[in-house]
């Protein structure tokens, strides 16, 4: 394992950004989000979670993929792509797990070329969490706040320095390219990091235990709960906004739209939300999910029942973003608790 002293981080940003686009958690007006790093940006590696997860790096909120032109009644269509190598530094382990869940959707047959190319071109560096907060519950999904198996490089914040461990070929390659800034980590330093990791995991697991969260059986329970009255107590307070879906590391619904000026333009895909009234509204005026009740149910059923039935895993990583940001506290942690407490058939 390697380490980098924190004084050298500015040099690291410079060096990394000279070889690729470097996404870092950047603070602006009190909000920390991943953004392509520029000289003078205020980097915040301490913020537990960015507001928007780094899914927008692998699956941008708006992504133009085609240009078109109508000329002399002829239609010209051309693929359009604007990417290249990038480094994502500072993703939390839950964020990395979120990307792994997106992989299952976008990389399954038929493979989504736009997404897979972005995934190939990026190197993901995860920073372990030393102090998860009350909204965190990643251990409930068998994740560890101190470890991201899906990351190319794993980094632990040890105070004055970051302990650095390459976990993949891509990670080794990037490590080699910044070797000049790294030092070998001593045995006891490595040991300290692993101890910290264990401690943090144990602490969060204990907190989850105390809150009574146990999602493990929910995917089975929910199979019989489509018609349950339980949804009544959730949907009424929902405002129908898209915060939960847009800040969720695993939500991936999108829309496809065109823009144009005169006879030229482009086609893009952009995030969309199953919480929005027009998400399933058809041209005929029919809407299979006409009210907030069906939409709220869809969101939670998809994460906790439908996705697991297809991929074996919950589409939730316990990052706590919806817990922190839902304006009316309609978060997945509460839903898990409520639906887990109701045995099938007892309704």
């Amino acid at each position: 394992m390697k380490k980098i002293v924190k004084d050298k981080l500015p040099s690291l940003w410079e060096q990394l950004s000279s070889q690729a686009t470097l996404f870092l958690p950047v603070e602006q007006d009190g909000v920390v989000n991943f953004a392509p790093w520029e000289e003078g940006d205020s980097v915040n590696l301490e913020a537990l979670n960015t507001v928007v997860p780094p899914k927008n790096v692998v699956f941008p909120q708006t992504e133009t993929y085609m240009r078109f032109k109508v000329e002399n009644d002829k239609l010209h269509i051309e693929p359009f792509e604007q990417n290249g190598p990038y480094v994502l530094f500072g993703a939390r382990p839950c964020d990395v797990a979120g990307i792994t869940l997106l992989d299952k959707v976008f990389l399954q047959e038929p493979e989504d070329g736009l997404y897979s190319r972005r995934r190939r071109e990026g190197t993901v560096i995860s920073v372990a969490c030393n102090e998860p907060d009350a909204a965190c519950f990643c251990t409930s999904f068998e994740l560890e706040p101190g470890m991201a198996p899906g990351a190319d490089i794993m980094v632990w914040d040890m105070g004055d320095y970051l302990l650095w461990k390459a976990q993949s070929e891509k990670g080794e390659k990037l490590t080699g390219s910044v070797e000049n800034l790294l030092q070998e980590a001593a045995e006891e330093e490595q040991k300290a990091a692993m101890e910290l990791k264990e401690r943090v995991t144990a602490k969060e697991a204990a907190a989850a235990q105390e809150m009574g969260w146990d999602p493990s059986g929910v995917k089975e329970t929910l199979k019989d709960m489509f018609d349950s009255d339980i949804w009544e107590q959730f949907f009424r307070r929902c405002l129908g906004c898209g915060i939960c879906t847009y800040i969720c590391p695993t939500c991936h619904c999108f829309d496809i739209q065109d823009y144009s000026k005169d006879q030229e333009g482009g086609r893009f895909r952009c995030w969309d939300s199953c919480m929005f009234a027009d998400f399933t509204l058809m041209g005929s005026g029919e809407n299979p999910r006409p009210t907030r009740k069906e939409r709220v149910r869809q969101r939670f059923m998809h994460k906790l029942c439908y996705y697991p039935s297809n991929f074996g895993l919950y589409a939730c990583v316990g990052c706590g973003r919806c817990v922190r940001k839902c304006p009316v506290n309609l978060d997945i942690a509460q839903v898990i608790k409520e639906v887990g407490g109701v045995k099938s058939g007892s309704e």
Binding site: Q61, A134, R236, L239, C241, N329
Partner: protein, 323 residues
């Protein structure tokens, strides 16, 4: 405040059991200290759920907005209103989206609500179990003990400038009137007005560049009561779905304009914004200008009065040169 919560529980149980209303909207406590969210209690005696009603420093969501969805299906609905909620209710009345006689309002004098972000920034969030209000002070409760602080330092900015902490409309008032001591509300607007055009543009462009287009500001707003929002209409699609600065500017300008003269200044838009865009400062610009040009007007105070942008006087001044 515990006392007020008890009164709320009793009154909710009474009005449901007497059949006066078929739904009570109040607040309930969630598992975490900052979670107090809208609660919907129905049925005879509320099926014993009225006991879960709460009132604390986090009961911030405006309940009157829910009338848009709930009222059409109900005979009569009771809800608790803080000062800002009452203004919102009146605005919904003025917009003819609710009938006064179908609603029972229980007024709550409000001494300001606590902004969880301010608690977190002060480093008080770790291990916090509960926040209690004790007069002008807040009591932060931890496993290890309690800590006290001045409440004012932790209130939402919108509460610090609140001019109507006591409901302007109610059927029954619960508790003594709260003191009215608002700070000047147009200060930020004035600061921005002092900048030059390019600075102002850069300021707002930076704010808008963070917008994720979640529409929470619209959906939380008691003045955004259109049955079908112009931003949702597919044909013609006024608002493009791409997250582009130009589209976001379009969205935010039109959103603010649509509530100009009807915005009750409750500040919910700013509160719910996940990326800290100071949306209230957009709405307040309209309020300030309308006050200056067409006379002082407080939306939501009198639902019988006409909103300033749906009326006129023949000798109105203009903000452009008339010739």
């Amino acid at each position: 405040m515990k006392q007020l919560a008890e009164i709320m529980k009793d009154i909710a149980a009474q009005s449901l059991s007497r059949g006066e209303v078929d739904l009570v909207i109040g607040w309930q406590k969630g598992p975490l200290w900052w979670q107090s969210y809208p609660a919907f209690i129905e049925g005879n005696e509320g099926n014993g759920e009225t006991g879960s009603l709460t009132w604390d420093s986090f009961c911030v969501p405006n309940l009157s907005r829910y009338l848009l969805e709930e009222l059409p299906e109900r005979k009569k609905v009771a809800l608790f209103v803080k000062g800002c909620d009452a203004l919102g209710f009146n605005q919904i009345l003025q917009d003819k989206r609710a009938e006064r006689e179908k609603v029972v309002l229980y007024g709550i004098p409000c001494t300001g609500l606590v902004d969880p972000d301010k608690v977190e920034s002060a480093g008080l969030g770790r291990g916090l179990l509960e926040v209690k209000r004790d007069g002008d002070e807040l009591v932060f409760v931890y496993d290890s003990g309690e800590q006290k602080a001045q409440a004012r330092d932790f209130l939402y900015d919108k509460c610090l400038t609140c001019r109507y902490p006591n409901p302007v409309v109610y059927d029954q008032m619960l508790g003594e009137a709260a003191p009215v001591q608002p700070e000047e509300r147009f200060e930020s607007v004035q600061e921005l007005e002092k900048m030059d055009a390019d600075e102002r543009f850069a300021y707002w462009a930076r704010q808008f560049s963070r917008c994720i287009r979640c529409f929470a500001c619209r959906n939380a707003c008691p003045a955004c009561s259109c049955r079908e929002c112009i931003f949702d209409i597919p044909e013609p699609r006024w608002l493009g779905k791409a997250n582009e600065l130009s589209e976001t500017q379009f969205y935010q300008i039109i959103r603010a304009y649509h509530v100009a003269g009807r915005c009750v200044d409750c500040g919910e838009c700013t509160r719910v914004c996940p990326v800290n865009i100071p949306l209230q400062e957009l709405n307040r610009k309209f309020i300030k200008d309308i006050n200056e040009l067409y006379g002082e007007y407080d939306a939501g105070v009198d639902p019988e009065q006409e909103a300033p942008l749906v009326t006129y006087k023949t000798d109105d001044p203009a903000a452009f040169t008339e010739s």
